[in-house]
């Protein structure tokens, strides 16, 4: 292994956003950034995707909201958030102090709410992109149905596209049969990038009480358990679309992130792993850099989508 002593390029551009490195914090797992400021160096993170934001503040679901599963975490937070007003007043200004890209994850119960949120945020400064959550499984009336079919995806993405000048990332649900078809619809509607995936719908039962372990009954599965499934979806989608894909699902270490990049992701978001180690993202960035150095890769772009397929025997 020849060590190339020149620092490899880790910068990527994802749907109109220049990222200093390809490892971001995933929405809902990093609060509004400030929560992790005492525990990690936010300046080393490629970008922070903030907790899903709706127009009004939301209380979220009753508790319990969390249940651990083998190598996984079921959550049904129910999109508790401070609402756009307080986000702009207190959260965004605090976050702007850090040298990292700020991507604001948004959702609504109706198309009109999505549009209002996008419009209002578009007046603010310091936001690098909006990430449209059309895929959260935990709100009964919200999100889910928008991302369930290609036409409904096309509809909501077009509507928000017209409401904002910010780069628009669209976050897809894995709870579909053909994610590539949804991805193509989002692209056709003007998405600048695709984030995939959100959590997988799951259930856990407490056999003593015979009740679901979550007050919301079902929840979204995240963590290492889902990595092979999410990675397969990123690979399928990256082959089909022109716009960049941001890979999400179970990424805990540099090796995991590199799998996604090799499968075709331009960047990755790290979620549940932050809970296990607040320094997961800086460690991933360092690990990617080491890998590039050790493999003599000068620019991370040479790695994106570089998966070698075996010749099939007949």
């Amino acid at each position: 292994m020849e060590l190339n002593s020149v620092k490899p390029n880790l910068q990527v551009e994802v749907g109109g956003v220049r990222l200093k490195n390809p490892a971001l914090a995933a929405s809902g797992t990093f609060g509004y950034g400030e929560e992790y400021a005492p525990w990690t160096d936010l300046g080393k993170i490629g970008g922070i995707v903030t907790k899903g934001l709706s127009w009004e503040p939301r209380l979220g679901n009753p508790t319990p909201r969390l249940a651990e599963t083998p190598a996984g975490l079921l959550n049904a937070i129910g999109l508790q958030n401070v609402g756009v007003k307080r986000f702009l007043q207190t959260k965004l200004p605090a976050l702007r102090n850090y040298d990292t890209a700020i991507i604001v994850n948004i959702f609504g119960h109706t198309e009109a709410e999505y549009i209002t949120v996008a419009r209002e945020l578009s007046l603010a400064e310091g936001i690098a992109a909006l990430e449209l959550n059309i895929s959260c499984p935990n709100v009964t009336q919200g999100g889910m149905q928008f991302g369930a079919t290609p036409p409904s995806t096309y509809q909501i993405v077009s509507a928000v596209r017209q409401a904002t000048h910010f780069p628009l990332w669209v976050k897809l649900s894995p709870n579909v049969a053909d994610i590539a078809a949804i991805a193509e619809a989002a692209q056709a509607a003007g998405a600048d990038a695709l984030s995939l995936v959100n959590t997988f719908l799951g259930l856990a039962i407490d056999i003593r009480s015979r009740q679901p372990k979550l007050a919301n009954i079902t929840g979204g599965l995240s963590g290492p358990a889902i990595k092979p499934l999410a990675l397969r979806m990123v690979w399928e989608v990256a082959k089909k679309v022109e716009i960049p894909v941001v890979g999400i699902g179970g990424i805990c270490c540099a090796e995991d992130a590199l799998e996604y990049i090799i499968a075709g992701a331009h960047a990755v978001e790290v979620g549940t792993a932050n809970f296990i180690d607040p320094q997961a993202i800086p460690k991933i960035v360092a690990g990617i850099e080491t890998y590039l150095l050790e493999n003599g890769v000068a620019d991370i772009h040479s790695l994106i989508g570089s998966l070698k397929l075996p010749e099939r025997e007949v």
């Binding site: 609060g31 990690t40 979220g60 599963t69 937070i77 180690d277 607040p278």
Partner: protein
């Protein structure tokens, strides 16, 4: 302060279901306040996945002690670790107990510490801090059986006023520790009494009711299932009264993060039903 490797200095089984873990964790030990907690990983590998929260039981120099009750897979795995090995730890986290400033009140203040089961964990740290400030202490320790009465010898070093109770009557008074507390409160001590408690939710609710009746200040350390421990995941929320003008709350309550606003709360700020 960050996620750090803490070396296991000793692991002492108290009974089949409780053990004390001694860790070398200089940063935590030096900055910890009574009532704060740490998140501890159970071992390598992603199953179990999440770190587990534990109150700081004691600290001295560069060392901290945790008092751990074995209730499931994570605590069982921790109980199997090998002294000398490293465990990943994050902390100190959360808001600890607001301590009594001695000499600030008239009549002088007295601290009543009430713990149930592993709930005594943060109370020993608290008792040591208060004793250091010469605050008079009365300690109540309850459990199902005598095997659930923990840290008794340590408390005996700090106070002569120690009340014990077990549900099966195997040690101390037979019954719940809340009953014992009620009886003691009947007597007028001439002190301004302040209660500090940690234990199961039902016990805390009952003590809060007793304290409210007598208008005594009370701080409780509550538990919740946690993922991050730092306020990021919103998994650990509890219902708290919504302060006026606070638009985060909707209706008459809001969701407060136990890990960030707590684990110690003034009981009156929570919704107990």
């Amino acid at each position: 302060m960050d996620m750090m490797e803490a070396k296991i200095l000793s692991l002492i089984e108290l009974t089949s279901s409780y053990f004390i873990l001694e860790l070398e964790a200089p940063k935590v030990a030096q900055s910890a306040q009574a009532g704060q907690f740490v998140m501890l990983r159970c071992g390598p590998g992603y199953d179990p996945l999440l770190s587990r929260p534990f109150s700081i039981h004691r600290r001295q120099g560069n060392r901290i002690w945790l008092l751990i009750s074995v209730v499931g897979r994570g605590t069982e795995l921790i109980s199997l670790s090998r002294p000398g090995a490293q465990l990943e730890i994050l902390g100190p986290l959360g808001k600890g107990f607001r301590l009594i400033e001695p000499g600030r009140s008239d009549p002088p203040a007295q601290a009543l510490l009430v713990g149930g089961g592993a709930g005594v964990a943060p109370l020993l740290f608290l008792a040591e801090e208060l004793a250091g400030r010469q605050v008079p202490l009365t300690v109540f320790v309850g459990g199902k059986t005598s095997a659930d009465l923990l840290a008794i010898e340590e408390f005996e070093k700090l106070t002569t006023k120690l009340h014990l109770s077990t549900e099966d009557g195997s040690r101390g008074e037979k019954g719940l520790i809340t009953g014992v507390l009620g009886d003691v409160l009947e007597q007028d001590t001439g002190f301004r009494q302040e209660i500090f408690s940690c234990g199961p939710w039902g016990m805390l609710a009952e003590i809060s009711r007793i304290a409210e009746e007598r208008q005594l200040p009370i701080q409780v350390s509550v538990e919740a299932r946690m993922a991050c421990g730092v306020g990021a995941c919103l998994g650990c929320v509890i219902k708290a009264k919504a302060p006026e003008g606070e638009d985060y709350g909707i209706g008459d309550y809001r969701h407060a993060c136990v890990c960030l606003e707590g684990p110690v709360f003034e009981a009156e700020k929570l919704i107990w039903n």
